[in-house]
Amino acid sequence: MLNVGRMEEGIVLDHIKAGYSMSIYNYLNLDKLDCSVAIIKNAVSKKMGRKDIIKIQGGLDLVDLDVLGYIDHNITINIVKGGEVVEKRSLSLPKRITNVIRCRNPRCITSLERGLDHVFVLTDPETETYRCLYCEEKYDRR
């Protein structure tokens, strides 16, 4: 088993679906951070078989929980202090996300007025459907 050095202070994004860590890394703009970030791919998991993990040496303020909840609300966040996990947080689907995804509808006002925020609203939690606030077009995650 691969060992990544023990972290004194930071956060661990656990239970990431195997293969998704890089897209989360990009969505959260982790490349722009100065602190250490470790990505562990295909770690063995009792619950999931295989999973990805991201360790970030820094505070919770470095991570946009709404973005993370939108990407995968099954991810758990472990907050580490003094080398120990002091808190575990679970995520939920955010009701509203701003400038995380972009409306692809060419008839939407956001396609004309570039300065507008791209706002999506959760319209059906069961099917995890998000619709553009302006044109109500459903966002296709593919």
Binding site: N105, R107, C108, I109, T110, S111, L112, E113, G115, L116, T123, D124, C132, L133, Y134, C135, E136, E137, K138
Partner: protein, 311 residues
């Protein structure tokens, strides 16, 4: 301050109040001829729509108010690159209420976020046209005496026809509504309307390509035009344009108390010979449009408050 961007912005009770006010106006228009004196309506039309713009202007003039505005993006500051947000901030200094039509979906919502005056959506692309929905509801209520327990046939372009989507949304809040969806295969009602509205609310519906088969069972037939501006391909438009043509012979299949509505303009989908039929209600619908816009302007300007001697 209220805006009217989507028919669902008003509750069923609020919609009924607007429709009742429109009926009062129809019964006694003179009584309302001065209620908006000193008020101004701005019509911000980023794309041409003579009928809707004139209907709004007639409505405001009938109430004793005045109108100002532009009727195409070329004659507005949009041609200089001004945003919708900036335009409405400026217009808020000139007028008391604004009706906005824009080819891009959601533009009236953007306007409402920056406006200091009530904003009415006068049509935004293929998205919503809520005052047409109010018009349709008033027409149906006038002709049938109710908005519940009706079988509504929707015919033609059900894919891009925003009036159809809005009408389905609005009527789905009344009891005992049933829809018959008549369209060519490629212009079927979008899946999201079927799933999110009809199936989610367990509203009975039937899809068919045959107008003749549907006609005998309808209370209302809502015809629509296949709109050229919604197609990227001219060939596709020409192929679908004349899918359904309602004529005198087809009207023989319809019940005597089935009325024909159409948001207009029509092209070929209703033969002119049907105009003589007492069941042709599409020109009466235009008149309803003026009354309902009068009622809406009054409501949003707070001119129909309780205790007011008018209502």
């Amino acid at each position: 301050m209220r805006h009217f961007l989507n028919p669902l912005d008003f509750s069923v009770e609020e919609l009924d109040q607007v429709l009742s006010l429109a009926e009062q106006i129809r019964e006694n228009p003179d009584r309302f001829a001065h209620v908006a004196e000193g008020k101004k309506l701005a019509t911000l039309f980023y794309e041409p729509s003579t009928r809707t713009r004139l209907s709004f202007e007639a409505a405001m003039l009938n109430l004793g108010g005045k109108t100002l505005g532009f009727h195409s993006a070329d004659s507005s500051s949009a041609s200089k690159g001004e945003s919708v947000a900036d335009t409405i901030r400026v217009i808020s200094c000139y007028a008391d209420i604004a009706a906005i039509r824009h080819p891009k979906e959601g533009a009236p919502l953007v306007a409402s976020q920056y406006s200091r005056i009530p904003v009415i959506n006068a049509g935004d692309g293929g998205h919503q046209h809520p005052t047409q929905t109010l018009t349709d509801l008033l027409t149906i209520r006038t002709l049938k005496g109710r908005l519940d327990h009706l079988t509504i046939g929707l015919c033609g372009d059900l894919k891009f026809g925003r009036t159809v989507h809005s009408l389905i949304n609005a009527l789905s809040r009344y009891e005992g509504i049933r829809f018959v969806l008549i369209s060519p295969e490629v212009l079927r009602l979008p899946t999201y309307v079927i799933q999110d509205v009809l199936e989610a609310k367990k509203i009975p519906y039937q899809e068919t390509t045959s107008l003749e088969e549907a006609l005998p069972g309808l209370d209302i037939l809502y015809m629509t035009r296949v709109q050229q501006e919604r197609f990227f391909s001219e060939d596709e438009y020409l192929r679908l344009r004349d899918s359904y043509i309602l004529d005198k012979n087809k009207m023989k299949l319809a019940p005597q108390d089935m009325y024909v509505l159409h948001p207009l303009p029509r092209v070929n989908e209703i033969s002119v010979e049907v105009d003589e039929d007492p069941r042709a209600a599409y020109f009466m619908q235009v008149q309803c449009g003026v009354y309902v816009r009068m009622a809406l302007i009054m409501t949003l300007l707070g001119l129909n408050r309780k205790g007011d001697s008018l209502c």
